[in-house]
Symmetry: C2
Subunit: 250 residues, 2 copies
């Protein structure tokens, strides 16, 4: 949702200056875009600082998909907590789900974490339950694509399953996102449509066909994690805990 | 465990006939191997018949990895229930997890089901929770690699997570396996060692590297589903329900 939030900001600048000459409008748009980047950097740093209290020295964190600098500006959202914890001298480790079908976890998250010198272990998505059962991780930390007014959170497919598994293993489940991800026009997650992606993302995702012709495919891009499974939501403003209705509006 | 069970049978034949000439021993070993195949075919058919009562007209089944004819003789174990239900004229559909890292679900299970004309939909492993939440499946059905005396079941990595998710969504979770899979020398699943596989199965599983060099990898081949999450175990002898201790020994 924050992509549209940013486009709305750009549109507002263009409309407020429609009497200006085109080169001037372009200049103003560039300025606004640079402001968005600068604000986002600040937001990411604040998310990291606000959430760092949730990560203790010696923790091992499980994350899903990519919620780092490649998806935002600078420090990212979920990864901002990790980078900040490391800066604070906490010894931490991370397990990263590969995140099928597009492998953002394997391709992006592991790369960002290794660049920062963080001890990173890649697993397949279906290994998360076993990793939890073996006591290898003590918290789950993910980003968000859209958060409804009650705290229900849309994020990359697989997130909801992780939240169910985290609850079953008594592991806290945290979401980190800027408040621009909130969509307070939605009462709850049932109003969030789930985008369905092309079959080929699964069947030909590696440049090689991995399933027989003619098989049906179901490929939801996102899922919605109900607020009751989310231990806390970290934003640039602070840490919200359930019930989220009011705490998210602060 | 039934691979070793079969090797033990072959060894017993060789030892009982060690005074025979080599060509005769070879003949006897071939006979025994053909007996094993024939018995396994009969077992698979019986597993299918015994378990068919668990599948109703209109059901949609979620399965994981491959528990069909490519992994056994003839009808397979979990898939035997599906093939039998279809023969009985029940209208059924199947969702198949792709089953990372080696994609047995995408490559083998979908192929077997399509050959039998069964309505088959492929998903990534991390989509199973969403598929359950949307009410798309009403039972989970898997095979087994080893079953301890109390019913704890080792099977392909990802099975345990599915069982936790099935419980959270009030969906029955069934295991189908011949009794040769039972290892009654083990009191429970904690005594089953979990094989760890090479990092390359995940990082290079598609003939293309999908993760940066230097990343650690954790790749357990199996997990153990505790008996309390298993609604019933179907064998060639019948359907066992918890508590499994005695019902499995019958």
């Amino acid at each position: 949702v924050n992509l549209f939030w940013a486009l709305d900001r750009m549109k507002a600048v263009a409309e407020a200056n429609r009497e200006q000459a085109l080169p001037r409008i372009k200049e103003l748009l560039l300025e606004e875009a640079l402001h968005v980047i600068e604000e986002n950097k600040q937001e990411c740093r604040n998310i990291g600082r606000n959430g760092a209290e949730l990560i203790k020295d010696g923790d091992t964190i499980l994350t899903h998909c990519n919620a780092g600098g490649l998806a935002t500006a600078d420090y990212g959202t979920a990864l901002a907590l990790i980078f900040t914890a490391q800066e604070e001298g906490k010894r931490i480790k991370v397990y990263a789900d590969e995140t099928r079908p597009l492998l953002q976890g394997a391709r992006l998250t592991t790369w960002e974490l290794l660049q920062a010198g963080i001890d990173t272990t890649l697993i397949c998505d279906n290994m998360a339950a076993q990793v939890m059962k073996e006591g290898r991780v003590n918290l789950v930390l993910v980003g968000a694509d859209r958060i409804a007014a009650n705290g229900d959170t849309a994020n990359k497919i697989g997130t909801y399953g992780l939240a169910v598994l985290a609850e079953a293993h008594n592991i806290p489940f945290y979401v980190a996102a800027p408040t621009s991800t909130f969509d307070l026009s939605l009462d709850d997650g049932s109003q969030i449509p789930i985008e369905e992606r092309e079959a080929e993302e699964i069947t030909c995702g590696f440049g090689k066909r991995i399933a027989p012709e003619g098989v049906k495919v179901y490929c939801p891009a996102f899922d919605v994690t109900p607020a009751r499974l989310i231990t806390a939501i970290v934003t640039e403003r602070g840490v919200s805990r359930p019930p989220y209705g009011d705490s998210l509006k602060k």
